[in-house]
Amino acid sequence: MQTLRTIALAVAAAGTLAAGAAHSARGITVKGSDTMVILAQRWAERYMTEHPGAIVQVTGGGSGTGIAALINGTTDVCMSSRPMKEDEKRKLRDRYQTMGVELPVAKDGLSIYVHESNPIQRLSLEQLRDVYTGAVTSWKPLGGPDAPIILYSRENNSGTYVYFKDHVLLGRDYSARCQTLPGTAAVVNAVARDPNGIGYGGAAYGRGVRELAIRRDADSPAVAPSAATVRDGSYPVTRFLYLYTRTRPAGDVKKFVDWVLSADGQALATQVGYFPVR
């Protein structure tokens, strides 16, 4: 009798699960990096056009949000503008017994934006670090007007935020005066309206602002972000953009990922303003 009741409960649980599984039949979901949203949307549109019946849903939220969604199972594919951290891999492993599959799908140059009226044309990485850590708070020592520097940044769930902190600030903390904004477009908007503002974000977003040339160090030439300089690595602030899956891609997810890495998918990345990895 006890066993029968237990089995009945188990069957009820399985039924509930089946309902959940049926609910999950909704095509491929792609979530994560706001930097990659436009690119992934274009990929999805073109893929669905070329593959009638396929459904690919793309949403942003930031790399951290996308990775969290990958871990808790609410997205099939995560887009991230930074590599997964060790503790994130451990969380994925705790649930799925896997380390995740990392797929570099495009290359990006991270642009530094200032207002179009700002006379500053170039900064070194060290100057940029000083600006964003709060060591330099005025444009004057950088050759600009005697005006305060207004810092704009992404939120800490953003892969761009993490990449900038790790590679430009060398791990140091952002200045407490830094204003965080949701999305690169918001950063661009804020800088476009603020003559004293400075921000950073994906190169494909830089409208209404001016992009600075960056020196690797004080003795290096200043290099402006461009297709050529990002591709050849001479522009100092470049990075890979990734897709992540929990396990080796299979079925519809594999078809989509394979297409993203195909000549067509990579050509689309170039059209959007990023750089192919193949």
């Binding site: 006890q2 066993t3 009741r5 237990t6 409960l9 188990a10 649980a13 399985a14 509930t16 699960l17 959940g20 599984a21 999950s24 436009i38 274009r42 969604a69 871990i71 808790n72 199972g73 609410t74 951290k85 060790e86 891999k89 492993r93 705790d94 649930r95 799925y96 017994q97 896997t98 380390m99 140059g109 902190k165 790790d166 060398l170 791990g171 140091r172 903390d173 204003q179 965080t180 477009a185 661009v188 908007n189 476009a192 309206r193 190169a203 494909a204 977003y205 830089g206 409208r207 209404g208 992009e211 972000p225 461009s226 297709a227 929990r246 396990t247 080796r248 299979a250 959007v272 303003g273």
Partner: protein, 444 residues
């Protein structure tokens, strides 16, 4: 480097904002008529003002300009409000709430829930029940990148809310991700693998018996230093009271005076992790008369191997081994604990044999069955006194998990323990104590 989505940059400028657009021409005409009518009926004392209006009849531009100016002011005001809200939101983001609830149905071959009634009759054993195994709420406050405070409550099967963990963590300022940590407070004992692994993630409803006996409650009070030497190698050193937070004697004081010291070194290769742990301390058994102090040492080794199969997905093999010296479980069982009579040795117990060597451990296999199902099997052993036969505990446990969504897990498990019980006609029998468990868990 070209623009791909101009709409992404469209911001509501004053000219575009709703309610600030210049009014249509017809509407302006109506307003002019109203101004003229008003000028005809107002008292003469206001003529100067009226004449000003008449002299400069407001055209569309002169009406729109103040409106735009007004809208600009409002926008600035809204911007300030948004910045204030943003600052408040940033402060609120320092608080993080998390937790989980585990609701269980259990049906067992025996139960400790038998209720004694008056007379000689006992109620039948309660072998089936619903209960809340764990209901936990954790609050983390990230004051800055360099410090953190955590309080963690449980209101589970005993229906009493109690503090499970409470500690502060200081993070180093010299690494980019602040990897070195110093903890002070009440936290999981950093020994082995399964102790620190959250019950919400574990593949079987309960930890192994060896862990339950050696680290009751899993938590203790003290200090902990976490040092990642490389991306792969991490060491932990801790000083704690010893005895655990569930101990009757150790909740606030440590009768042994000396503190227990432990350490662990873990190598994480990703697909293969291995760790060694060591614990050195003293246990005190308070008795009526002289108390007895015993060694409390534990050695631990654990390893986890992860793999992936086509179609099925990820899987893992995990194992953990414990050995050391502990208070003799048989002597402890022989003690009578009562606040009125103190603690006495049962007649026949050997005070000279208070601590004994023990061994324990488990081997576990976990296999995902796609992304919605998972299977787990574990075989375990705990021998509390290696010098004594028929006191071993063995158990085989099986579980299937169904993941309803990213936060909810439904588990059906079956435990088959084996314990030797002296049989009436001589020899030993396995006690009837198998257990079915159905568990619903939600994390947040």
């Amino acid at each position: 480097m070209h623009i791909v989505n101009p709409n992404a940059f469209a911001s509501p400028t004053p000219r575009e904002g709703p309610g600030v657009a210049p009014p249509p021409p017809g509407e302006v005409g109506l307003k002019l008529e109203a101004w003229i009518a008003a000028g005809l009926i107002v008292p003469l004392g206001w003529c100067g003002w009226i004449s000003t209006v008449d002299a400069q009849p407001p055209g569309p531009d002169s009406l729109a300009a103040p409106a735009v100016e007004d809208a600009g002011g409002r926008l600035e005001g809204l911007t300030e409000q948004v910045q204030t809200i943003q600052a408040d939101t940033d402060r609120m983001k320092r608080f993080k709430f998390s937790g989980y609830v585990q609701v269980r149905w259990e049906t067992a071959e025996n139960s400790g829930d038998t209720v004694k009634v008056s007379g000689t009759t006992l109620t039948p054993a309660n072998v089936e029940r619903f209960y809340i195994r764990r209901a936990r709420l954790k609050l983390t406050y990230d004051a800055s990148p360099l410090s953190q405070a955590v309080v963690y409550f449980d209101g589970g099967s005993d229906r009493t809310i109690r503090l499970l963990e409470g500690y502060l963590a200081l993070l180093d300022p010299w690494t980019s991700d602040h990897r070195h940590q110093f903890w002070a407070g009440q936290f999981n004992v950093p020994f082995g693998y399964e102790i620190e692994r959250s019950s919400s993630l574990r593949e079987l409803p309960e930890r192994s018996r060896a862990e339950n006996v050696l680290f009751p409650g899993e938590r203790d009070r003290g200090l902990k230093l976490v040092t990642p030497w490389t991306d792969r190698l991490e060491t932990v050193v801790a000083v704690i009271n010893g005895g655990g937070v569930n101990s009757l004697d150790f909740p606030t004081t440590d009768p042994t005076g000396g503190k227990d010291v432990l350490g662990r070194a873990r190598w994480s290769q990703g697909v293969f992790d291995v760790a060694l742990s060591y614990y050195d301390g003293l246990g005190l058994v308070p008795l009526t008369g002289d108390d007895v102090e015993t060694d409390r040492t534990r050695f631990g080794a654990d390893a986890q191997l992860y793999y992936e199969l086509p179609t099925l997905g990820g899987g893992s093999l995990k194992g953990e081994f414990y050995s050391g010296t502990n208070v003799n479980a048989d002597s402890v069982l022989a003690l009578t604990v009562s606040s009125s009579v103190g603690r006495l040795l049962r007649p026949g117990a050997d005070p000279a044999h208070f601590d004994t060597d023990f061994i324990g451990g488990y081997a576990m296999w976990v296999q995902n069955l796609g992304e919605k199902l998972q299977f787990a099997a574990r075989a375990e052993l705990f021998d509390p006194n290696t010098d004594l036969d028929h006191d071993q505990f063995e158990r085989v446990s099986l579980a299937v998990h169904a993941f309803y969504d990213g936060f909810t897990r439904i588990t059906v498990s079956y435990d088959v323990p084996r314990t030797d019980v002296a049989a009436t006609g001589g020899g030993y029998d396995d006690a009837p104590d198998n257990l079915w468990t159905v568990q619903f868990q939600h994390r947040f």
